[in-house]
Symmetry: C2
Subunit: 386 residues, 2 copies
């Protein structure tokens, strides 16, 4: 990745560090290394407030360049900083929400006279507004994502299970360039590539705060397709993670086997109205919870509030930031007072589940522009009949 | 999962707890919940030394049963333990190598007068010897894994890239029941399903301690296939993770496009000899490093030591425990004094990389029996010519 891009990203972090009295960051978790160094390595990026960043790398052993030095273990860090005459921190930030406890403690012990702070929220804040290059990668990702979805009717055949069709869609995604890895912030959530939820399996609650869960194929990963045969009169939703260039674009589309009930089409239309109304309102300065309330008003008026964002176990948001991880800032949820800023990229996912039918609704990725929003995932949004 | 199985697993943990003066465990990380409760939930399993375990569950909201209680946040734990008259710990173990720093600190604050210890190494020790059911799941996993690999020649076509063929193999694995998720202990390593390494891409070092790395398709996941066209006279190795029932079976096989050099066949044969000699020696009581040294002797005698386990950046092991994660205990590596025990399941992967040709060798999953070993992944081990 080009240095000006990396410098821009590092400076976004530095601005927040200066505001919070932090004079250096030690970055070692994969997504934050991708963000600040442009690739995954096993090693440490030392990012001082007022001096160039240096990378201390364990593996791979073939990375060389200015400000790049080999390292064996973190206990060498302090000596290496002195050797290369880097400014030593009085307040250092570590990735406290991401590093395992014992690794954090080990790193902390490498900086005995230094005040340590949890830098994860700060880095997530910096990452929440994307650079023009990141937005362009999301645009390209959206095009590839749509290209994969457009081929779904061609890989469907009658009598398939949700799992069989999901496997064919995973293949389409991979052939269009999807990297496969599905990155999620936090240790708890796990999902493989995304989900295909058909019929009443979309009602099954998952261990996670997902709009729709699904029982899954095995108790070791109880989410998503469960072997349901795709049957006439039912709908299914395809919700695969993008990750074409490291960026987790998010897009859901609904398909039906034959015709659905009138109520199902009305529910779907309601979700499209939610999307339209929110897209209309979204611009810099708008408060996240307002958009959530907008959605709730539309679905309440339409009579679908009991089926909105799940039944039984409901998701408590209608949208979420996306980036190198699927769950970034901001979150469009109740009580979220955060204001939208230009460059924020988020997924908006108004979804309804009708027992006996299946999931309805839509999900797209959007970027906040100077005066509104731009849709990043452009692909037919009506229910696609198979 | 049946309670006797879960009780057996919990008791394996309790035996070690008693030895180390620990009187309760709080388990909340996914793999450890699968191990002790049989499935992933969002919640906490409280496991006292001398009383039945209780599950406190946030999501999904449809789990009910004896000793299962809803919970909203960890700050309720102490009150709930009192309410259900559970023994309060004086020494409690948390998953210190797995919990993020801030989550560990938050949980620690919920038990203000309790002495806390890192329980991860203990749970990993308990998990390192498998129960008969776990071994049976590995056997079934091995059969499914082999069935997928046997179909590889049928999905190959000339002119394919490593990535294109990898996508077809991923699909075969999924159709045979692979759950897709590739679980790895530690925050650092990431891989999607496994790898296909062709020609000189097998020489490229990765950020990880893998025998063979590969450049990968994108700097955000720099490991595995890189778009190399599969060419006559070159070899490629398929090394996909199993995970058919939550268990990460491990198996690698080598294919060639046309004939390879004589040296390549000799290298492959050397790896098979390493495997034979180690299988011959392996039984309870054997020390891990002895097996590593055995491997090194064979390849040194055969003249391949410079190409063994990578060139440039070498892996420092020839085998590793497998289970719910791909990198469990024990590790067959230098200085590992641990003795093998019945029920330990490990992958043995003698691999050689010849620049200009590609990877050679073999990888199988094995279980230590009462007096030897049993191979769990049975599938042709010669180089398969395409």
């Amino acid at each position: 990745m080009l240095l000006p891009e990396l410098k821009q990203r590092r400076d976004k972090i530095r601005v927040l560090m200066a505001q919070q009295g932090i004079d250096a960051a030690l970055i070692t978790c994969n997504v934050n290394l991708i963000y600040t160094y442009g690739r995954v390595v096993s090693g440490y990026l030392y990012l001082p407030l007022n001096a160039p960043a240096h990378l201390f790398v364990k593996r791979p052993n073939n990375i060389e360049g200015e400000h790049i030095h080999p390292i064996g273990k973190p206990e060498q860090l302090l000596d290496l900083l002195k050797e290369f005459q880097l400014p030593l921190p009085s307040t250092l930030m570590l990735e406290g929400d991401e590093l395992p406890y014992t690794e954090y403690i080990r790193l902390a012990a490498c900086f005995p006279d230094v005040s340590l702070v949890n830098g994860t929220p700060l880095i997530r804040q910096a990452r929440s507004t994307k650079t023009p290059l990141e937005i362009e990668l999301f645009r390209r990702s959206g095009i590839a994502h749509a290209k994969a979805y457009e081929q779904i009717p061609a890989v469907y055949s009658p009598g398939m299970t949700d799992r069989q069709l999901s496997i064919e869609i995973e293949r389409l995604m991979r052939l269009e360039g999807c990297l496969g890895i599905f990155r999620i912030f936090g240790r708890s959530m796990e999902i493989f590539m995304g989900s295909l939820l058909a019929g009443d399996n979309a009602v099954a609650p998952s261990p996670y705060d997902f709009a729709l869960g699904g029982e899954g194929a095995d108790p070791s990963i109880p989410v998503g397709a469960n072997g349901t045969v795709l049957e006439t009169g039912q709908s299914f939703m395809v919700d695969m993670g993008g990750n074409f260039y490291g960026y987790m674009g998010d897009m859901s589309r609904v398909f039906s086997i034959g015709k659905l009930s009138e109520k199902a089409y009305a529910a779907h239309q309601t979700c499209l109205e939610v999307q339209d109304e929110i897209a209309e309102k979204t611009k810099p300065g708008v408060v996240c919870e307002e958009l959530y309330n907008t959605a709730l008003n539309v679905v309440t008026k339409a009579g679908f509030v009991d089926y909105f964002m799940g039944v039984g176990q409901k998701a408590k948001f209608i949208g979420h930031g996306i980036g190198l991880e699927i769950n970034e800032m901001p979150v469009l949820a109740p009580r979220m007072k955060q204001e939208l800023e230009p460059g924020m990229v988020f997924a908006l996912e108004p979804k309804i589940v009708l027992p006996g039918v299946g999931p309805l609704g839509v999900e797209n990725s959007w970027v906040v522009t100077a005066d509104g929003v731009e849709k990043l995932t452009i692909c037919k949004e009506e229910i696609i009949e198979l």
